[in-house]
């Protein structure tokens, strides 16, 4: 009988998934030098995003865009242009970016956090998150911003750079670091984070370890990063203190919680 129920579950999986169709996109930039930007190139970003999508496909998420290289635009991450239907980061519930960022050595409270792409379109290629990114406002719908670059979430400047971006956004993840203690190019980090957060359906859910967004990033965000101060960082906004902390600790991508009013922020980090 148990087998029969399992088989039924396998066959009916797509129907259950219809109820939880969150939309997501990936943006992966490998080629910087061939496209006229300062390098080096990052050959592992595209396979990282490929694996991310495979896990999220298993999780039943709906893929919206999967741009790479020059098809990822700086404008995708800036308010006012981030709802471009051809690939803006604010047209989906979840966006996974993998590519370069910019580090300081060391960062200060007034330092910026950056996403750096390489494209002739949607310029400038570098976006200062704190001053230009606003997620979840207007027609935007981004709930989870997963930024696998280097130093896009420096702890010392987190209030300046990340508090303002929450306009409906639930959580963001990234790294804090310096030029000498940085993230390495990695297939594993983002894809295992996807495996932990995809919320795989029954019967995988029996056995596969699923984690909250914050816990998953503490575990997977510390993969392939250098010692000496590089940290995995996760931040959540909340209606009040308890809500922010609850989201930081317990919100899963599939929790289905409403958008927070960003009155409070709760963040956590783990350094190597």
């Amino acid at each position: 009988m148990r087998r029969l129920i399992l088989v039924a579950a396998f066959l009916l999986l797509p129907l259950f998934n219809l109820q939880s169709q969150l939309r997501y996109s990936t943006g992966a930039v490998r080629d910087y030098i061939p496209n006229g930007c300062g390098g080096p190139d990052l050959p592992l970003t595209i396979p990282e995003a490929d694996n991310f999508r495979t896990w999220y496909g298993l999780g039943g998420f709906s893929l919206t865009t999967q741009w790479t290289n020059t098809n990822v635009w700086g404008a995708d991450f800036r308010d006012g242009t981030d709802t471009d239907p051809s690939g803006g980061s604010d047209i989906v519930d979840i966006y996974f970016y993998t590519g370069h960022g910019i580090c300081q050595n060391p960062p200060a409270a007034s330092s910026g956090d950056f996403i750096t792409v390489c494209s002739p379109n949607g310029r400038p290629n570098t976006t200062t998150i704190g001053t230009s990114s606003r997620w979840g406002n207007g027609s935007g719908r981004l709930k989870f911003a997963f930024i696998d670059a280097s130093c896009p979430m420096d702890l010392v400047s987190i209030s300046n750079q990340w508090f303002p971006v929450f306009r409906g956004l639930h959580m963001g993840v990234g790294h804090s670091g310096t030029s000498s203690s940085d993230t390495l190019d990695s297939v594993t980090r983002g894809s295992q984070f996807a495996a932990h957060t995809a919320g795989l359906p029954f019967p995988f859910s029996w056995i596969f370890p699923e984690l909250s967004v914050g816990d998953a990033w503490m575990s997977d965000g510390t993969i392939d990063i250098q010692s000496g101060g590089c940290c995995a960082v996760a931040i959540a906004a909340g209606n009040d203190r308890n809500d922010a902390i609850n989201r930081r600790e317990n919100e899963h991508v599939k929790s289905g919680w409403g958008n927070p009013t960003p009155n409070w922020f709760a963040w956590k980090w783990m350094c190597r």
Binding site: V7, L15, I33, P40, N51, T54, S191, P209, C271
Partner: protein
């Protein structure tokens, strides 16, 4: 309503057909049962407070047992274990281990021993400390009002070598409860074939000799080290390769995320260890300009 009807019809259809497909995906029921019994036995050895098991089974390459609070699962094609206790955490019932770092490492080592991890393969133990903080912006002064940082979870992390060859992709991450039992663990420590270790040693000799990493535009070589890479913990296949890892830093010191290449002795890239039999890659097309 339509979905509910479809679900009921589907279940009725399956029951009516009496299909005999195995949910174990090629693994016989007896093998699956054996795996579950082994996990139950290991749970006792590890003194896990599993309670009443509510689910157990084999799916693809995984076998596991689950209760209201605890998941304990294992890959069947790799020495890879996962433990999650929902009660683990600083503000939860099981709490977080409060002993010294040395005690945390020692107790975590004993966990690895129960799971047959050779102690001579542990090359390094780190302590990873989670820190938490909260704050808000005072609407009147427009200034940030942060609370003091607090301690979160604490993990012992173990790195690996086999016969002096580092295994870059293996890792054990262990978090203990205040009682010293496992609250969280991801142990990924696949058996490495002897030939791979030998090739790793040959690559080490090359690196010690005249082997030169390929130069890269806008980048400076930061480190070169021979070792072994393999597929990550969560996945459906296990690839293992010897490789020379070359880490480059950007010539422009500000550009972050360091280029990292995994190369063979001839300086060619080794394949990326897979997580799936097949991954759909990004279709090559150009995004329309506005």
């Amino acid at each position: 309503m339509k979905i509910k009807i479809a679900v009921l019809l589907g279940i009725a259809l399956v029951l009516a057909l009496g299909l005999k497909l195995s949910p174990t995906n090629g693994v016989s029921s007896s093998q699956g049962d054996e795996g579950q019994r082994r996990l139950e036995s290991l749970a006792k050895d590890l003194k896990l407070d599993v309670g009443k098991i509510t689910n157990s089974g084999t799916v693809q390459n995984m076998v596991g047992i689950r209760s209201e609070n605890v998941l304990f699962s294992q890959r069947r094609d790799s020495r890879t274990y996962f433990i999650q206790d929902a009660r683990y955490g600083p503000d939860k019932n099981a709490g977080v281990f409060q002993g010294s770092d040395e005690m945390l490492v020692e107790r975590s080592r004993s966990v690895l021993k129960v799971l047959d991890i050779p102690s001579d393969e542990i090359s390094k133990a780190n302590i990873l400390r989670e820190k938490t903080q909260a704050g808000y912006i005072d609407r009147r002064t427009r200034k940030v009002v942060p609370e003091a940082p607090r301690d979160g979870k604490v993990y012992a992390e173990f790195w690996r070598q086999v016969s002096g060859v580092p295994v870059f992709s293996s890792r054990a991450l262990v978090g203990l409860t205040k009682e010293g039992t496992v609250g969280f663990m991801e142990l990924h420590w696949p058996v490495i074939p002897k030939a791979t270790v030998e090739e790793g040693r040959r690559l080490q000799a090359l690196v010690r000799g005249r082997w030169q990493p390929p130069s890269q535009k806008d980048a400076v070589v930061e480190s070169v080290e021979a070792g072994i890479i393999h597929s990550p913990a969560l996945g459906f296949v296990m690839d293992i390769y010897p490789a020379i890892r070359v880490i480059y830093r950007a010539a422009d010191y500000k550009v972050g995320r360091k280029m990292t290449l995994y190369l063979d002795g001839n300086g060619r890239p080794v394949p990326v260890p897979r997580q799936f039999e097949k991954v759909e890659t990004t279709p090559a097309k150009t995004r329309p300009r506005k």
